[in-house]
Symmetry: C2
Subunit: 338 residues, 2 copies
């Protein structure tokens, strides 16, 4: 389980476009209270609108970590970043990265981190071994986001559900299973980096026993219909033991991204397959609703789509960016309090 | 991918009962041409009926590896084995182990192996990284064994199918995914030790493109209904892209082993769920037959069970130890040659 020291200084390197800084934007939007400021190379043309603080200034204000908030070409650390990263280490900040290449593969960073007693944390990679799953039913309530494909809003939906539950006065915790989610939550498990045999076991540890009226909202990964990642999806689902699943979908997606030979099934079939799979570890699991990325539809088409889908599936259909997820939360709270 | 140097010397340590030497027995039975002999401590009371050869004698006869053929208490190497293991290293043999504890965690073995230029091979553990699955359809035909639970004959069935296919003159290769299977085949991938994101990709590498009339027979792992291991099962199934699945079952098993809260579904439901999952990467997948461990039934009951199950599912039902798997092979060859 990763555990990060907040607050954060977000590092933007030499980013030229805001789209390069997706991770940093996510942190600014979803955990503003954990974010102290931003820092970048002089040639960067991007700002998040946060105070601009050098690593030393951020450390003086109590920062715990410098988070690399941009994607780098080839997933490696450019030479040009090293002075800033070494300055952060020298100021006593942990370095946090979601890059493919581990921070620990750069001897100059390892040496400096050891000398200054700080951590190099690669949230994309595992840090420990996990036990096998037990299947033991845990106390508390769990909502898992699942998807018709990768990269269509499972993390975003889980964060939105957590916020909406809390806004209704419910106890709710977002449980992160991917790199950006872990940075936002400050903790979590990069579930796809776990050794296959222990995925369900790791997922069990991620949402331990809790109060009967507490909701763990678990960030899904992959998709049951994806030829490469369905195993991760299933292990995570089984270990999560959800009482509720929220099916996430992008209306513009007709096949698995980058894999035109793999069609996305109709939503009712997709929901049925997820429920069938989830019943292995929680026979009472229910579909809470559908969370849709509807950005490709105009208002009229979105209204039609939402009405039709909701009628077919018998559950609320929401777009977190177009009216929010309150209808799903109301269903969960209404049924859960019966 | 593990690759072992044969022929083997099987090591029995201080085994007192043949049941302690399950791995060694499997090797003797399934790859007799790869097995030169056996060796044990003087206090061992077990023999496999093979020539008794010291490591030096085995090396002189051309042995490539000493395989630890017994389970050790706690999964570690007892002090008493060290002289024999060091003698094997000194004679130029690789050491092969399926223990939880890695051979490489014993400094004395590592030092000796380096000095003599031999390998310490832990087949339970991974040796490399794998790419993500592509879902690309490969040439050749594939049969995957799948199960209603763990440990009920998926490896045995895959080996029996391979042998029966070859006996009918078909080209067939057993593809190992677990430790004993890897020792028998001399190569393979310990699929449950692969990082979760790459399970399907590793399975794709395990049975590469082949002749159109060649059969890869892939050893299944885990079960879709198992709360801990279903993710491994699904990833392996997707990467294997089977044209045929053979469902393995133990008639005496009503729930997942050691997990009484997890019932095993009826065979028709189990088969339907496996076919649904396998269709993601091969829409033409079919059920080839059911392979049953029927040791708990007398002849009359087995006959009844076989007839009823075969009628319900419309496929041959076999017990590899009670009449063989030829009926399943005939169905596969008959349909495949149409």
């Amino acid at each position: 389980m990763h555990s990060l020291r907040s607050p954060y200084l977000l590092y933007l390197g030499a980013a030229q476009h805001l789209t390069d800084a997706k991770t940093a934007c996510g942190l600014r939007d979803w955990c503003p209270d954990k974010v102290l400021g931003e820092w970048a190379l002089p040639e960067s043309r991007v700002t998040l609108g946060l105070p601009r603080l050098s690593p030393a200034e951020a450390a003086a204000k109590g920062a715990g970590s410098l988070i690399i908030g941009i994607a780098s070409v080839g997933g490696t650390v450019p030479e040009a970043w090293l002075p800033d990263l070494l300055a952060a280490i020298g100021a006593g900040l942990d370095l946090v990265s979601g890059m493919h290449t581990r921070l620990s593969s750069f001897p100059v960073l390892v040496e400096a981190a050891q000398r200054h007693g700080v951590q190099l944390i690669d949230v994309r990679h595992g840090t420990q071994s996990y036990p096998a799953g037990t299947g033991r039913k845990r106390s508390g309530q769990r909502i898992a986001t699942v998807g018709t494909d990768c990269a269509l809003g499972k993390k975003y939906t889980a964060l939105a559900l957590t916020k909406a539950l809390q806004a209704q006065g419910a106890k709710a915790t977002f449980r992160a299973t991917g790199q950006t989610g872990i940075m936002i939550a400050g903790e979590g498990i990069a579930i796809d980096a776990v050794v296959a045999d222990f995925v369900a076991g790791a997922a069990e540890l991620l949402s331990p026993d809790n109060d009967p009226d507490h909701f763990d909202v678990i960030e899904g990964q992959g998709a049951l219909f994806h030829p490469a990642y369905a195993g991760v999806t299933l292990g995570l689902l089984h270990g999560s033991q959800p009482d509720w699943i929220v099916l996430c979908h992008d209306v513009s997606r007709v096949h698995i991204e980058h894999r035109p030979d793999f069609p996305i099934p109709p939503l009712d079939e997709a929901a049925a397959q997820y429920l069938q799979a989830a019943r292995i570890t929680n026979r009472a699991v229910q579909l809470a609703g559908v969370s849709v990325n509807s950005s490709s539809l105009d208002d009229y088409d979105w209204h039609q789509y939402r009405e039709n889908t909701s009628r077919t599936l018998g559950v609320p259909v929401c777009d977190p960016l177009r009216g929010g997820v309150e209808a799903i939360v109301s269903r969960v709270l209404g049924v859960s309090s019966l």
